[in-house]
Amino acid sequence: MRKIGLWIVVLMVGAAVAGPWLLPVDPSVQDLPRRLMGPTWGHPFGLDELGRDVLARLLSGARVSLLVGLFVVSISSTVGVVVGSVAGYAGGWVDEVFGRLMDVLLAFPGILLAIALVAVLGPSLTNVVLALASIGWVGYARLVRGQVLKIRELEYVQAARALGATTPAILMRHVIPGTISAVTVQATLGMAGAIIAEASLSFLGLGVQPPTPSWGTMLDAGRAHLLDAPHLTMFPGVAIALLVLGFNLAGESLRERLDPRAI
């Protein structure tokens, strides 16, 4: 069951990357006379409200979703690892300051702060990444801090300290490598979270702006044609659900392999 997740991710990433070669159709080309047409052999997922090929837009939207996920996870995990390891290793007032900052950020449920940030900064792909990363790092920082509190007491870390190793060297060589397994699991699950969050923001009109294809904006546009063209909402919805399911299953599979005690 768990391996299915990895396969879903590999297939969907492969389709997103190879999209332009697999389906050499411009996702922005309009065929207005045949707008809202259902699936046919020529257009397997049909045409949208402006007569654009839904499959081509889905593949293009997949690249947007995956890129946003990748950027958000990369920025969040980097910031989270640095803050978490510094706070956990230094302890004292440094830990207190970061701890209180994290408490305040965690007081905003889900993507509420991201919605607020995009609302004031303006809707764009860059602002979505910035907004999601600005809340995403907290989860990694908390996870890493907890790991570091245990690792810093281990004998090999104390030995390195006794031998005169500097704090940055201890963190880079001995402490942070010990947190990588947990961070990898969190990052895989974080991809699913970031993809859903980006689609949610785009659905609310706060994310990727038309004409750039995004699964969230496709779903939002499809809502107006729920009765006459249900394929406009069905295909992007299935795509999001599949990719999120894939990353969730892959994350759980990784957790089983890397940290069986966490199950």
């Binding site: 900052l101 007081a107 004031v120 069905m234 969730n248």
Partner: protein
């Protein structure tokens, strides 16, 4: 009467919450200052006359030094003054208060729906672990977790409102209006809770006290209902508490889909109209509700499980 240690726990927990609330209020205050350029210009649009922009800046207090603005904002909050809505020209507090009941109604019904679906599903999956029933329940929960509510909502509306005509597609006022939004909002929570119930009850069923109960002659059903099930509920309640944030943010999307007149929809409308005082008010209220609910959940845990009070 509440034991002394419970009172001390309550005091400590409230004391820890106050700086968080101040931090939340400060961050919400800072939001308007993150607007690129002049917030007053952004609210009125590029075509606005400079005199109108200047007037709005004075009205919003943006012409004063930052520290004075912060002081006035915090003093206003203490008095329950969230400012005036740019769009409606009415106090933000009144606009939110008019819609708060609807959001609470939706969130509570969604949680109820989630519990009603999840607990039986999780119990069945745990009792028939490894069978087709278990696999079906597990797959259903995995799909429920992966399915975004902004897709589930329109899909449910398509089937039950448009095709079958059983339920209204949007609006509020009757219980029928509440069915589709609460199902949409409760589905993911149901999926997570069902998984937790399955795992938790599965663990309890392997405990020696269940075996002892069976050895004393209790039927499997009685051993499950009277012993294992009750104990398995503690982590399930924990998960429900933790998911409160997801439910609160879920209301924003669900209310938008079903035109439900709550705070979530108000927030999106305020964003679209660049009504920043109203945006700030909605964000602040949702966060403060979340922090308060977390505080209440913690207090309930401490009351249920005395070990928590001493941590």
């Amino acid at each position: 009467m509440m034991p002394t240690s419970m009172g001390a726990f309550l005091l400590r927990r409230v004391a820890l919450t106050i700086p968080v609330l101040i931090g939340v209020a400060t961050l919400v205050f800072a939001l308007i200052h993150l607007v690129p350029g002049d917030p007053a210009q952004a609210m009125l649009g590029d075509a606005a006359a400079p005199s109108d922009v200047a007037e709005l800046r004075i009205k919003l207090g943006l012409d004063r030094p930052l520290l004075v603005q912060y002081e006035r904002y915090m003093a206003g909050l203490v008095r329950g003054d969230l400012g005036t809505s740019f769009r409606y020209g009415t106090p933000v507090r009144r606009e939110i208060a008019q819609r708060m009941g609807r959001t609470t109604e939706l969130a509570l019904t969604a949680m109820l729906v989630a519990v009603v679906i999840a607990i039986p599903l999780g119990v069945i999956a745990a009792l028939f672990r490894g069978t087709v029933v278990d696999h079906a329940a597990t797959t259903a929960s995995l799909l429920g977790m992966a399915m975004p509510n902004f897709w589930l909502g329109p899909a449910l509306a398509l089937v039950f409102a448009a095709e079958l005509g059983w339920l209204p597609v949007s609006g509020s006022g009757t219980w029928a209006h509440l069915v589709l939004p609460s199902l949409t909002l409760g589905a993911a929570l149901a999926a997570i809770t069902a998984r937790m119930t399955r795992a938790s009850l599965g663990d309890e069923l392997r405990e020696l006290y269940v075996l002892a109960a069976r050895a004393r002659g209790l039927s499997r059903t009685r051993a499950v209902v009277a012993h294992a099930f009750r104990n398995s509920l503690i982590p399930v309640v924990t998960i429900l508490g933790l998911q409160l944030g997801a439910v609160l943010t879920g209301t924003i999307i669900t209310e938008t889909i079903f035109a439900w007149p709550g705070v979530g929809r108000l927030l999106i409308q305020a964003i679209n109209f660049r009504d920043y005082p109203l945006v700030q008010g909605c964000i602040l209220l949702i966060s403060v509700t979340y922090v308060t609910m977390n505080l209440l959940v913690d207090v309930v845990y401490a009351w249920l499980d005395p070990r928590i009070r001493y941590q």
